[in-house]
Amino acid sequence: MSTHTEKFEYDDATVRKFVFATAAWGVVATLVGLWLAIMLVAPRMNLGLAQLSFGRLRPLHTNAAIFAFAGNAIFAAIYYSSQRLLKARMFSDALSKFHFWGWQAIIVSAALTLPFGITQSKEYAELEWPIDLAIAVVWVAFAINFFGTIAKRRERHIYVAIWFYVATIVTVAILHIFNNLALPISPWKSYSVYAGVQDAFMQWWYGHNAVAFFLTTPFLGLMYYFLPKAANRPVFSYRLSILHFWSLVFIYIWAGPHHLHYTALPEWASTLGMCFSVMLWMPSWGGMINGLMTLRGAWNRVSEDPVLKFFVVGITFYGMATFEGPLLSIKSVNALSHYTDWTIAHVHSGALGWNGFMTFGMLYYLAPRLFQAKLWSKKLAELHFWIGTVGILLYIVAIYAAGVTQGLMWRAFDSTGRLAYPDFVETVVRILPMYWVRVLGGSLYVVGVVLAFVNMTMTWRSRPAVYAPSSDEAPALGVYEGPKTELALPAHSTIANTGLRLIYFVQAKWHRTWERQPLKFTIWVALAVICASLFEVVPTFLIRSNIPTIAAVKPYSPLELYGRDIYVSEGCYNCHSQMVRPIRAETERYGEYSKPGEFVYDHPFQWGSRRIGPDLHRVGGKYPNLWHVRHMKDPRSTTPQSIMPAYTWLFDDDADFGSVQKRVDGMAMLGVPYGDAVLHAESMARAQAHAVSQQIVQQGGPADLENKKIIALIAYLQRLGTDIKQVPNGPPAGDLRANNDATPAQPSAVAKSDLGGL
């Protein structure tokens, strides 16, 4: 090995920027979350503005929390720790700058598009295609910078934290690209190339693994670096950390389908997701134990050091959330918990407790080192810790109670065998006190985040006039002269070769070799993720029996398609599901359970993941058009205790009939059999709008709605879930449907027999 020592400086300027961005976006993300929590108890707080309505603002909250707050935090962690673990400055200062400013531009563009209804409607992947492309470019720049740094490292062994970062970079790239494949029809509108069941599968393959590889693996890397630093002790068990890493890489990627239990997803995929989710207990708790045990002999310092306090509680929440996750993936538990606020409580225990507190621990650790000044106020950090902890507990305890209450009320039957709470709104009103407690807990958490921002800013103000360079020195990496672990085979003996290969494998020296060869290591991580994904994706996409077709299911008419796009744009999926599960309480409440073949033209799917309001898959024909007019204009006029916001702007905004042809053409390009509508979409949409508005007038409603967006939305809602009630070979695609009245049709025997034996 070379003995020549090289001096170099770390790039801490980029880390400082990411640290500030983390604190600032943390304030924004939690404030928007608090605003949303307030709107759930006081729906008029959207002030009548479309841009502030719950459906549009919720994706802004989730994107800000995940990609702005947590995203900047993991970049700060990666840039700081990688340089020191690899004993090298980042590969390129220009790429570091491009990464930082590019990422902030992406966040700002999210904030400028989501409130205006520009969305793909796929949870945590809402951003439209131009921003998706920008994300891909910035991510590639980040990857080049990161792997370039590994390539010029001065430390031969690659520490386990770096492994977690490698897994993050590789897997997030794969997830982002494949989940966001879409056909653009305009600069701000695209349709997912997948439909229905397949789209749902891809989305939750992505959604779950966004949690795994954006909110878990990089934070574990953070834990494996910053916790030993803060505790001044090596990690409890390096062996355990290796097991932790490979188990997560091999298991996590399978678990996505547990988000779709009892839906139209094939049961084998759902069961597979459940099995792997339960297996996640093992590595997750191994990691938690490894983290907490790292503090052996240092527990006395926890009471004095806010950094360690945040880390201890953060890791404890990791243990709690990763115990609860597998629990929720068990089908019988999921039958109760799914669509309820239980999931929201689970998510927030992870996000606020694990991601939030690990981030704050890191920020308080880094602030004095990066700004080269004493932390402005240790007492303020202590106050932040306690106020944040109490805030999380108030939030999650209340919302756990709300979730279990919802689940139990939805499935309760009285002594006569009828639903005990047939009006959905009864189950909403019952949990409103818990929503108020959430507002209180959320407020405390937000105050804590603001305190952190103030502490960071004041520490920064105490910085020296010129930062001292953060310099280090290490010998350059020469030719490896350590123990040989590569397999060397004698040339002539087959038996001896076989024996040597066996010994090589059993002694696992190959792994040791990989740890020095980042390219090979990265390729194997990528292969593990890709192979696991293909095992689930290929059968779901290519075995026809997974999605039995239904002859009666036809494409949406041009007006209905436009109405569906308005539904997507308003973010209705944030409160309403479109998936009646084959559970008696649901079929009693909503009607026939949902079949896979009913969604084959749904680009993208709209199954949703929670029910703040009732499921809508069978809402078509349930109410007259006029009911929808009144309900959308003022939900309290039809359901006095409703917490749904009024959608008054849909009555003011003109329908964009000129865009309908483009929408139909886009769908046709994706293989939706549109027939005549490909040539006459706009005129067909106008004709149906006229028919629907005439029905509204006949029912005693206003006469001026024909050219308004509300008509398209009503046309779509009235179509929902009605196809299987039609006889097969009924009206051809694109024809005006005659089902825009209040008479619910009955499922025909023919349609039932065509459901692939379901």
Binding site: K87, Y238, L272
Partner: protein, 58 residues
């Protein structure tokens, strides 16, 4: 003949079993690795964060 026809005709009923076996194999391999390695090696690796910086902060 499309790929869909081929895959649909395969009547594969082992999709759930194959990945489980793969996982168990890999898991066994990793366990062998961590058990086969000498403790002193791991101790050196686990100290990397602590050796990684000459602190200039306060």
């Amino acid at each position: 003949m499309k790929l869909t026809d081929v895959i649909s005709a395969m009547h594969c009923s082992i999709y759930a079993t194959v990945p489980l076996l793969i996982f168990l194999g890999i898991f066994a391999g990793v366990i062998i690795h961590v058990l086969a390695e000498q403790k002193s090696q791991f101790e050196a690796m686990s100290r990397l964060p602590l050796d990684s910086e000459r602190e200039n902060g306060r």
